[in-house]
């Protein structure tokens, strides 16, 4: 993995090795033994044969590595660039909607979307957090922690109101966002974020929730301050990803208090958005120490809809519910 940084950009992915005649013979032999392997009915013998085959392969690989290393040392500066191993990230299918920050259209869209007023610092977000009916203890704790993370957020219990009516009354009370945590089997499993004055609505699936009290350091709750955190949004590459990242960013105050040294991160990796909450300290210009506070959870976007919550008649910008076969065409295709 560290080879990536040394080599040129995307130039040399691992190619199949150029073989000499003896190597080719050896490869043929290996192929034949492999084919024979699948016809052996005796499991014990088959496994033994497989083990020897693997050993051989590993030996060949190690020799190749050693040789390459020797050559690189011998050549010194003129050594060929190190090969980059293939990862899912660098073999990701190219997406037409990848954001190119210099693109005029993108910047135009950004300055005219629903979050423009947030990013031009005209208002402070005010969030209403609620849950589904009859939340259980884990959900309740989770919601309480969310109120500590989002500055200027309030929690109100559901009491059997419908989402549409809730949104209506929240608008009247000047809230700017509504967050509804859905619960299933006593555990929070979904998050609905709706930006209020006719903003987009997104539904995420929540997984792997870890509350503050389950964190490594005991009593880390005492280190929570009320400083406004800064938001880090990593790796949102497509237009859809950009829309989602702006939505998440607009839940926080536009002006973070750097003295508080709190950082809230939404990191997108392969369509999973990881949420982390840290306190950081710069040990030097080259190193920063992080200490994890607060809950951690992962989000996965299920649908994004223009306008406030209206699942029946709404206009979906992106939805994956019934269209998996169309959309998940390859293992290297991601949407965010």
């Amino acid at each position: 993995m560290e080879n990536e940084e040394n080599a040129e950009n995307g130039e040399v992915l691992v190619k199949p090795p150029t073989l000499s005649a003896s190597d080719r013979l050896a490869a043929k032999k290996r192929f034949r033994t492999q084919r024979r392997l699948s016809t052996m009915k005796n499991k014990v013998l088959r496994n033994a044969q497989w083990a020897t085959l693997k050993k051989e392969k590993r030996k060949v690989k190690k020799e190749g590595q050693k040789q390459r290393k020797k050559e690189a040392e011998a050549l010194g500066d003129k050594a060929p660039p190190k090969q980059i191993p293939r990862t899912i990230e660098n073999t990701r299918e190219a997406d037409i909607t990848t954001v190119d920050h210099d693109d005029e259209e993108v910047t135009f869209d950004i300055t005219h979307d629903e979050y423009e007023s947030y990013f031009s610092k005209t208002y402070v977000p005010k969030i209403l957090i609620t849950s589904s009916d009859n939340p259980h203890s884990k959900t309740i704790h989770f919601i309480r922690e969310l109120t500590k993370i989002f500055p200027s957020s309030e929690c109100q219990w559901r009491k059997r109101s419908s989402v549409k009516k809730m949104i209506q009354s929240a608008k009247e009370k000047n809230y700017t966002d509504v967050v509804v945590i859905n619960e299933d089997r006593r555990v929070p499993n979904g998050m609905l974020v709706s930006h209020l004055p006719d903003g987009p609505t997104a539904y995420f699936k929540i997984s792997n929730v870890k509350l503050t009290k389950d964190m490594k350091y005991k009593n880390i709750i005492k280190e929570f301050t009320t400083h406004r955190p800064e938001v880090i949004l990593n790796n949102f590459q497509t237009r859809l990803g950009q829309a989602v990242s702006r939505m998440l960013a607009s839940l926080f105050h536009y002006d973070p208090q750097f003295k508080g040294r709190r950082a809230v991160t939404f990191h997108n990796q392969r369509d999973y958005i990881f949420f982390r909450h840290h306190r950081y300290e710069f040990k030097s210009q080259k190193r920063a120490a992080l200490r994890e506070l607060g809950p951690r959870f992962t989000l996965r976007l299920k649908w994004l809809q223009k306008g406030t919550f209206d699942t029946i008649e709404g206009d979906y910008e992106w939805i994956i519910a019934g269209k998996r076969h169309e959309m998940e065409t390859s293992r290297r295709r991601f949407f965010l």
Binding site: T87, I88, E89, R160, S162, S207, N208, K210, K216, Y217, E223, T225, I232, N234, N235, F258, K259, A263, T265, H267, Q269, R270, D271, Y272, F274, R276, H278, R279, Y280, E281, F282, K283, S284, Q285, K286, R287, A288, A289, L290, R291, R296, T298, R300
Partner: protein, 291 residues
Amino acid sequence: MAMIVWSIINKSFCSYKVNTKTQRFCRNEYNLTGLCNRSACPLANSQYATVREEDGNCFLYMKTVERSGFPRNMWEKVKLSKSLEKALRQINEYLIYWPGFIKQKCKQRLLKISQYLIRMRKLRLRRQKKLVPIQRKQERRERRREEKALVAARLDSAIEKELLERLKRGTYGDIYNFPQVAFNKALEEEEDAEVNMEGEDYGEDEENEGEEAEEEIDEELEKELEEESENEEIEYVEADSDLERELESESDMEDIEPKATTSVKDNTRRKPRLEIEYETETLSKNAKRTV
């Protein structure tokens, strides 16, 4: 005729009869009570009536002796009114002179049906929870992919990188009194070593900062830095002194080794002002507990 039918059905076989440990049920759709009795069996009674519901409308079905020879037209179907009162009066009207058992059971059945219809209507007005079935394979796949994505993400280093980049870009302004980038570039290698050893504790000791900071720094800058650190210091002592102390002694797992050298030095410097707390972390236990 009816008696013959009953003697056969009762004793031997009836295809609508369901036997359980305590009761006999009748699966005939025209049965009034649902139990298999002499008085409730639609096959064994030549004069019979039921109330059945279809799409929210209640119908009264009647069977008379005169039509027992025409199985096609045997059941007479009458639509009852939607209001319960009127429907009851209709039943009274149609089933006048009929045996009391049938009248009573018809009315009871009508009542029950209307009650459940009301409940259905009420439920449909409320919010209904949409039950989405979990697809097992999808769940398993997603969970696995999430783990892999987490490993590939290397969150800590990504966050650290981003923060350092922001520092470089200058989004933090003058809060952190690291020497400016221009100076840094000239002295990078030297500084790295020094900086790591001496540990830049911003805002802790203004005097020592002044001394240890590289001599190349302008006097102005130095004064600025001192002022900054003064202000910083005040704030720290008020708010975050606990945090500072803890962060020094019980740092992240990644930073434990290099920290060892710095913490000792720092603590001695801070002796006159703060107490020293040493905490050791049990790495082995915690290291295994991954996400």
